[in-house]
Symmetry: C2
Subunit: 132 residues, 2 copies
């Protein structure tokens, strides 16, 4: 589901309305190269409504949010990335390639007994560049 019309159909399919605000949020997420904050997505409009819309769009599976270290949560289309790693030194986030993610998940499952997706809470550490 990578097209705006398809997403709007999903919205209608859930008995929800297609409003200008929702169209704008989805369009902004579609051409964003990274997860955006609610404030960025509100873009001067009403923040509270933006949070409400993001929550609604998450509840129907179109949107997801990730906590990249400290600071506000960031939103993205739910199909966009497999999982995240974030650097707590430079603040940059790296999407994990599916094979790398799978290998890490296997290690976590085997050694800690946890099933971790790293989509909502990423791996936080120091990236290659910041290890100097």
């Amino acid at each position: 589901m990578t097209s705006l019309p398809a997403m709007l159909n999903t919205v209608r399919a859930h008995g929800l309305r297609v409003s200008t605000a929702r169209r704008l949020v989805l369009a902004a997420l579609l051409d964003a190269g990274e997860p955006l904050t609610a404030e960025q997505l509100a873009a001067g409009g009403d923040l509270a409504s933006t949070y409400r819309n993001l929550e609604t769009l998450e509840s129907i599976g179109l949107v997801r949010h990730v906590h990249l270290g400290h600071g506000p949560g960031r939103y993205e289309l739910s199909g966009r990335s497999a999982g995240w790693a974030a650097c707590d030194t430079c603040g940059r986030a790296t999407p994990l390639a599916p094979p790398a993610l799978a290998a890490i998940q296997r290690a976590v499952r085997e050694h800690a007994g946890y099933e971790a997706a790293f989509t909502h809470f990423p791996i936080v550490g120091r990236c290659e560049a910041c290890r100097t």
Copy 2:
């Protein structure tokens, strides 16, 4: 450094004062079996001062805080645990045994290029029990 007097010496060694509030915070952390919130550590006393003391004690390396999923940060003595995994379903946190932690860190380093301690931001996922 597992004794209260030793920690108080560290406080003095940094030119800081040993106040009742600081002694109480350190004593509480010493016999806590898990990381505690600032509110728990304030225990009816002044929350703002407690936050300030925790920050001071962190700055001299005695204390550390961890973000176990959503909710307030939690504080622990910095020597206490190697790293954490937290379950976003039941909310429980599991300290990682050093060998398990090392294996996971190796996988993260190899496959993502990140150096992750999991002491400040843990591995968040679903624990064995919650996977039903």
